[in-house]
């Protein structure tokens, strides 16, 4: 394991501290219990947005704290969901009285910890709604599993729900927009290599030189199928097929196409995947109205990518286009 770190157990502390130093104009870092708030939180009259999860997915979530997106991010240990004693003060800190939406990726740990925190925040008088993100089509038999995971779609939910909150939507409306994004987005990922959790020191799984993991999540867990390496176009088709099928993308649909790097893949390769995905979508008669290409929800230094397709309507497009000013996503301001 070779990493630019000091003590493996200090990784999250030091990284979040560095993040706070680099973006002091945008965020405040609260060290103990650890959470990150928008500098001007709570914003009067605005619904607060809180997300969080294990660390190791940077820039998610702290990189999305700021105007038009999250009010607070709660980083857990690497790949470990945060605890209620972090989530509760983060929730209280961003509540202006208009209530708080928790954006939770569907993993048992995240769900349980946010559930507890929501109950306790409610007990303190904060109205909380939860948007559960579960966009991962790689999980097939969701009846017999913990359900579909929250992956790439999370970034889109955070951006669009964040824009709804920023324009002044009330608590239920913000949560409803978040749910709508979640219902209209599907994601699937591939890993060409595993990643190494600092405290573990060994790769999260072993892959032969000619193998890849199809249907990975974002925690370095193995995927659903392990198959022989293929060319980028074939891999892209393999990821896109279940997405388009499950989402029921039809001719005339307008979509946002999001090609996300897992952390160790050159940007140039993401554009090769994007190219093919755009071609396939065009072949189905869908119009790619908006695009996002880059490392936004990662698994440490894992090589690989995920593709997300979000079906757009005019309101979602307008909310996507609305100004955002965070460390990792910025436009219109």
């Amino acid at each position: 394991m070779k990493k630019l770190i000091n003590d493996p157990r200090a990784v999250v502390d030091e990284s979040v501290e560095g993040f706070g130093l680099a973006h002091a104009d945008l965020v405040t870092v609260h060290p103990e219990p650890k959470y990150v708030t928008r500098r001007d939180a709570p914003v009067a009259g605005k619904v607060g947005l809180v997300s969080g999860g294990g660390s190791g997915h940077e820039p998610l979530h702290a990189g999305f704290v700021g105007l038009g997106m999250l009010d607070a991010a709660v980083p857990g240990a690497v790949f470990t969901s945060p605890t209620p004693d972090q989530i509760i003060p983060a929730t209280l800190a961003v509540n202006s009285g208009a209530g708080v939406v928790h954006i939770v990726k569907n993993y048992t740990g995240d769900v349980l910890n946010f559930e507890t925190a929501a109950e306790m925040a409610q007990a303190e008088g904060v109205e909380v709604r939860t948007v559960l993100v579960n966009d991962d089509v790689a999980v097939e038999d969701s009846l017999y599993t913990a359900g579909r995971r929250g992956v790439g779609g999370t970034v889109l939910v955070e951006k669009i729900a964040g824009a709804a909150a920023e324009r002044g939507d009330d608590l239920d409306a913000v949560a409803a927009i978040g749910d709508r994004v979640n219902q209209n987005v599907r994601t699937m990922g591939v890993a060409l290599s595993a990643c190494t959790v600092p405290h573990a020191g060994t790769p999260s799984f072993d892959l032969e030189d000619n193998e890849m993991e199809i249907g990975i999540g974002i925690h370095g867990e193995p995927g659903r199928h392990r198959i022989a390496m293929e060319a980028a176009d074939a891999i892209t088709d393999r990821l896109l097929e279940p997405i388009l099928g499950d989402l029921g993308v039809a001719s005339g649909d307008k979509v946002l196409l999001f090609v996300n790097g897992m952390g160790g893949t050159p940007l140039s390769e993401l554009y090769i995947v994007y190219r093919r995905a755009a071609q396939v979508l065009a072949g189905r008669g869908a119009t790619v109205e908006r695009s996002l290409v880059g490392d936004y929800i990662t698994s440490l230094e894992m090589q690989g990518c995920s593709i997300s397709v979000l079906r757009l309507d005019d309101e979602l497009t307008a909310l996507w286009d609305a100004p955002v000013h965070t460390a990792a996503l910025r436009w219109g301001v």
């Binding site: 219990p33 294990g54 857990g76 240990a77 690497v78 790949f79 470990t80 969901s81 945060p82 605890t83 209620p84 004693d85 993993y107 048992t108 740990g109 349980l112 910890n113 559930e115 507890t116 790689a138 999980v139 097939e140 038999d141 017999y144 599993t145 913990a146 995971r149 959790v197 405290h199 573990a200 060994t202 999260s204 799984f205 999540g217 925690h219 370095g220 867990e221 193995p222 659903r224």
Partner: protein, 222 residues
């Protein structure tokens, strides 16, 4: 280690368990998590995300810190403190599940200074029920429930005619067997469930840590 008061038990007179036992249990649990940290990480690496050993180790170190800061008066207080420490330091799925388990057990014990065998078995049952209430897993889903449910069954059976030590030994043995029995299962809850059939052939890390904790409980009473 043994308290000077003798309590009645179904099988005659039993040496009851007190706060000293509880503290020793938690101390031995913390030792077990530190010792088996890498092993639990490895189990989680195979079908999860490589953090279970790290999380449990961090959590029980926090338990030790809090035990030192504010020494508890009763077994129930010790377990409540443990619940709070695990809830706020473990994170992931295991944090809330173990947190709830210890909290329910603490509630079952109430303020009692000494615990007899039936109370002990009932507290273990409450812990298991708490895990099921939070996690909604059934037996055979390849989770920590597969260690706890046989442990509780064995504890209840032992409590009918035995002392607290025999309850804890029965629970530990059953939990260990339950953990081993998760090996062939296909996971249906938690992170391992995403692997589908590929989760078979590996031991569930939470079941393994549960067995370690219950073995520590027996060790503390021995």
């Amino acid at each position: 280690m043994r308290p000077c008061t003798l309590l009645p038990s179904a099988g005659g007179y039993d040496v009851g368990l007190d706060v000293t036992w509880a503290v020793k249990w938690l101390t031995l649990s913390a030792q077990a998590m530190a010792e088996h940290r890498v092993e639990l990480i490895e189990l989680d690496r195979a079908i999860g995300d490589s953090d279970h050993g790290e999380n449990m180790d961090r959590g029980f170190q926090a338990v030790l810190d809090r035990l030192a800061e504010t020494p508890p008066d009763t077994p129930g207080a010790a377990l409540k403190l443990t619940a709070m420490a695990l809830m706020s330091k473990v994170g992931g799925a295991a944090g809330p599940l173990y947190g709830t388990a210890f909290l329910r057990a603490a509630t079952a014990l109430g303020d009692a200074a000494y615990i007899d065998a039936p109370t002990l078995a009932a507290a273990l049952g409450a812990a298991r029920d708490g895990i099921v209430a939070r996690g909604k897993a059934e037996s055979g889903d390849k989770t920590m429930v597969d260690a706890w449910t046989p442990a509780v069954d064995a504890a209840l059976a032992a409590a009918a005619g035995g002392d607290t030590l025999s309850v804890l030994i029965a629970a530990a043995e059953a939990a260990e067997a339950g953990a081993v029995a998760t090996d062939p299962l296909v996971a249906r809850k938690g992170r391992a469930s995403y692997l589908g059939e590929r989760s078979a052939g590996h031991r569930d890390p939470g079941a393994a840590s549960s067995a370690l904790i219950l073995r520590a409980a027996a060790g503390a009473a021995a």
